[in-house]
Symmetry: C2
DNA sequence: GCTTGTACTTGAAACGCATCAAAGGGGCCG
DNA sequence: CGGCCCCTTTGATGCGTTTCAAGTACAAGC
C-alpha cells in the first residue's frame, strides 16, 4: 500500500532515476532491453506516476478542462463529446466539471483547472463571462463556449438568434397568427432565441406573440402545466403555434394539450429547440432546431490549440458556428472577428437518426406536430 | 502573463512565504490585519495557487474522479449528477472523464486520476473490472459503479437482472407469446437484463424469445432498421412484444413499425429500459424501467467516504441499489456483502416528470405502447 | 529586571518528478 | 594506440507548495 515512486523502480531495476523517467517520457531514447526491463519492473511494482509531481517538474500537461453548467442537458453533452474527440485527436485529455448551475462553483472549478496547469480551459458560462475580468488575464488559454463575450477573449458562439429566426419563419410559413414561447427566457441563450423570434416577426406586426416562463429547470412537468394552462383558455385566446425553448418543454406541452382534448397539430402546432434525439425519433417526431453542440466543442478545442501553438494569446478570436445568417451585435465589431465560419442548416431525414448528434451543422428537424 | 507564485505574494506583502501559505490554508492562525494584507496582495497580483505543487507537498486533495463510458447516455449522467451532489455535500470536487467506450482510454483516465492524488476514484466500467487486478491494489480508494465485481473491491450495483425480470413479468401479464429483445447484449449491463428476462420466462417455456443485436451504438436508427426487419416478417413470425434494451432503441422500433403499417400496441407492444425523461413525457409515453442512476452515484461517493474515513480499505463492501428482489450470483456470497440496501420500485405518474431523474429508486414508468 | 507564557511568524526541508549537462562506453578511423 | 564521434545512462538541480520546529515580540507575573 505504500506508494511506490520512481526511485523505487530505479533501484529495483538497477538503473538510475533519470532513466526511468526517460522510459516514461522518451522511450525512444533508451535501448530496447533497458526499456523492457524498466517496464517490467514498473508493472511488477505497480508503479503509478504522480501526476502532480510530473506537472510541477515538467510544466503544463496535455490536458484540457471543461466546465459545464449542467450535465443533464443534452446540448452540453454534445459539446463535451465534440471537445473530447477533438482533444483526443491532438493527444490531449479532457476533464469535465459540473458547475450545477452555480456561479460560485463554476468559478471554483475554473480556478481549479487553471491551477492544475491545464493546457487550456473551456467554459459554457451560464451568464455573460464578463463577471470576472481577471479570468481573461490568466496565464492559461481559455475559451468561452456558446456565448457572446463583450470582453476581449476567445469564444465560440452558436447563433442562437438564428435558431429563433428559423423557428419563427417556420411559424410564419405555417400561417401562425398567435405564437406562444415557453421557457425561462432569462437564460442567456434562450434570451437570444426569443430575440431572434421577435426580429423575424418584426415584419409581421399582425402576428401576436407571448412568452411564458417555465421555471428554472425547464422540465417536462413545467411544460405540462403550461400546456394545461393554455388548453384551459377560451379558444380565441389560445395560440395556434407553441415554441418550446427546449424539446423537453415542448414535449410536456404536447402531453397536456392532447390530454385536454386539443389536437396537435390540427389546432395548435408545437415545435422545440435542442435536437434531442429522442424528441424526433419516436413515432411522432417533434420539430426541433438543433444547435451544433458537437461542433462547438470541437471548435473550442481548436481555438485552444491555436493559442497553445501560436503562443500569442493576446489576439482576440471568435468563431461563429451554425449561423444561418450573420448576426451583428455590439460585441462583435468587425475588428473582433478574425475568422467566422458559417455552416448552413440542413434537413435531416427521419430514419438517419444518429446524424443529429454527430453532425457538424445546425439542423432543422421537420417532424409532426407542425 | 508571467505566473505569479507564492513567493511573489510574500515579497510584495512583506511577509514570509510560510505566512502566505497559512493565509491560504489556516487563516485562523493569522492576525486579521496580516490576513487582510495578504488577501489584498493576492487579488492585486492575481495569484492562483499551483494545484500541482499543493498536492505534491500536501498529499491528497479533496476531490474525486469519475470515469464514465459515455456522456450521451442519460443513465451515466444521472450517476454523475448523484455523485456530484453527494461529493459537494462532503466538500469534495468531482472531476469527470469520458472513456468513450474505449477500454484503453478508461484505463488511461483511471490511472490519471489515481496519479493525481485524488482522494478517490469511481468507474462505471463497460466490461467486468477484473480486467486489471492491479487496479484494486492501488493506494487510492476505488469504487465500481453499476456492475458486479467478482474481484474483491468496493462496488455499487443496480439489479440489472431485476430490471429484465420486471419487464418480462410485464410482458407475461400482457399475455405475450413471442418476445423480441433488441440491443447489444454484449454490454455487461444489458446482458444481465437479458438474463433476468430469461429467468423470468423459465416458468413459461411456451413463450418464445429472441435477441437481436443492435450494433455498437444502440441508436434510434439501429432500432428503426430492426423494427423494419420485424415488420417485414410474415405475421406469424412476428413478435407480439418488443423490449428495447434502451429507450432510444425502443423509440426507433416504434417508428419503423408504425411506418410499415403495424399498429402499436394493438399488434405489437413495445417497452424500453432507461427511464429517459423524453421517452415518456411525450404524448404517447413509452413504458420503461428506470435504473436508479442518481442513487448509484450517491452511494458510490458514500462508499468512497467510508473508505477515506475508516482508513481501513481492506474490507470488501458492496451496495445493491434498486433491487426488486435479491439476486444471488456466484460473485456475491454472503460474506462479501456487508451491507445491502433494497429500494422498492414504484410507479411514477405521468405529470410528475422530473421525479424520474431525481428519484432514489428504481422506477417503472407505465406508458402507452403496451 | 527576569521568567514564563501567548500569539504570530519564519524559513529550511521535503514532496516526486522532468530536465539536461556531463560522464561513460563502445566502435571506427587514422 | 590515440583521437573522435555517437549512443546511452547518470544524478544534481529546481518546479511551487505545505509543514513544522524554531524563532521573535510582547505582555503578564513575580
Amino acid at each position: 500500500m505504500a506508494k511506490v515512486k520512481i526511485s523505487d523502480v530505479a533501484r529495483e531495476a538497477g538503473v538510475s532515476l533519470g532513466t526511468v523517467s526517460n522510459a516514461l517520457n522518451h522511450p525512444e531514447k533508451l535501448r530496447p532491453e533497458t526499456l523492457k526491463l524498466i517496464n517490467e519492473t514498473i508493472n511488477r511494482l505497480g508503479y503509478l506516476p504522480n501526476q502532480s509531481a510530473r506537472q510541477l517538474a515538467g510544466g503544463a500537461t496535455k490536458s484540457f478542462g471543461l466546465v459545464l453548467p449542467r450535465l443533464d442537458h443534452g446540448f452540453s453533452l454534445q459539446i463535451a463529446s465534440g471537445a473530447h474527440n477533438e482533444a483526443r485527436k491532438h493527444g490531449y485529455d479532457l476533464l469535465i466539471a459540473n458547475a450545477d448551475n452555480d456561479d460560485i462553483l463554476q468559478d471554483h472549478y475554473l480556478r481549479y483547472f487553471m491551477g492544475t496547469q491545464m493546457s487550456g480551459v473551456m467554459v459554457q458560462p451560464m451568464a455573460s463571462p464578463d463577471w470576472h475580468p481577471a479570468m481573461t488575464k490568466m496565464p492559461v488559454p481559455i475559451v468561452h463556449l456558446d456565448i457572446h463575450c463583450s470582453a476581449p477573449g476567445y469564444y465560440v458562439a452558436t447563433d442562437n438568434e438564428a435558431q429563433g429566426r428559423i423557428i419563427a419563419e417556420l411559424a410564419i410559413a405555417r400561417g401562425a397568427r398567435h405564437i406562444t414561447v415557453v421557457g425561462r427566457a432569462a437564460f442567456m441563450q434562450l434570451t437570444l432565441r426569443v430575440l431572434g423570434i421577435h426580429k423575424a416577426l418584426a415584419l409581421h406586426p399582425d402576428i401576436k406573440i407571448e412568452v411564458i416562463d417555465a421555471g428554472e429547470w425547464n422540465t417536462a412537468a413545467d411544460g405540462y402545466s403550461i400546456g394545461a394552462q393554455i388548453a384551459g383558455r377560451p379558444a380565441d385566446e389560445r395560440p395556434d403555434f407553441v415554441v418550446g425553448l427546449t424539446d423537453v418543454l415542448a414535449s410536456g406541452v404536447i402531453s397536456a394539450l392532447v390530454d385536454k382534448g386539443i389536437s396537435v397539430p390540427e389546432q395548435v402546432r408545437v415545435a422545440g429547440c435542442d435536437g434531442n434525439p429522442l424528441a424526433w425519433s419516436g413515432s411522432v417526431p417533434l420539430t426541433t432546431v438543433a444547435p451544433p453542440g458537437y461542433e462547438i466543442g470541437r471548435k473550442g478545442v481548436q481555438l485552444l490549440m491555436e493559442q497553445i501553438e501560436n503562443k500569442v494569446p493576446t489576439k482576440t478570436k471568435h468563431i461563429h458556428v451554425g449561423s444561418a445568417a450573420r448576426t451583428v451585435t455590439a460585441a462583435t465589431t468587425a475588428e473582433d472577428i478574425n475568422r467566422q465560419e458559417l455552416v448552413r442548416p440542413f434537413l435531416l431525414e427521419r430514419a438517419s437518426t444518429q446524424a443529429s448528434s454527430q453532425t457538424d451543422a445546425t439542423a432543422i428537424n421537420l417532424g409532426a406536430y407542425l
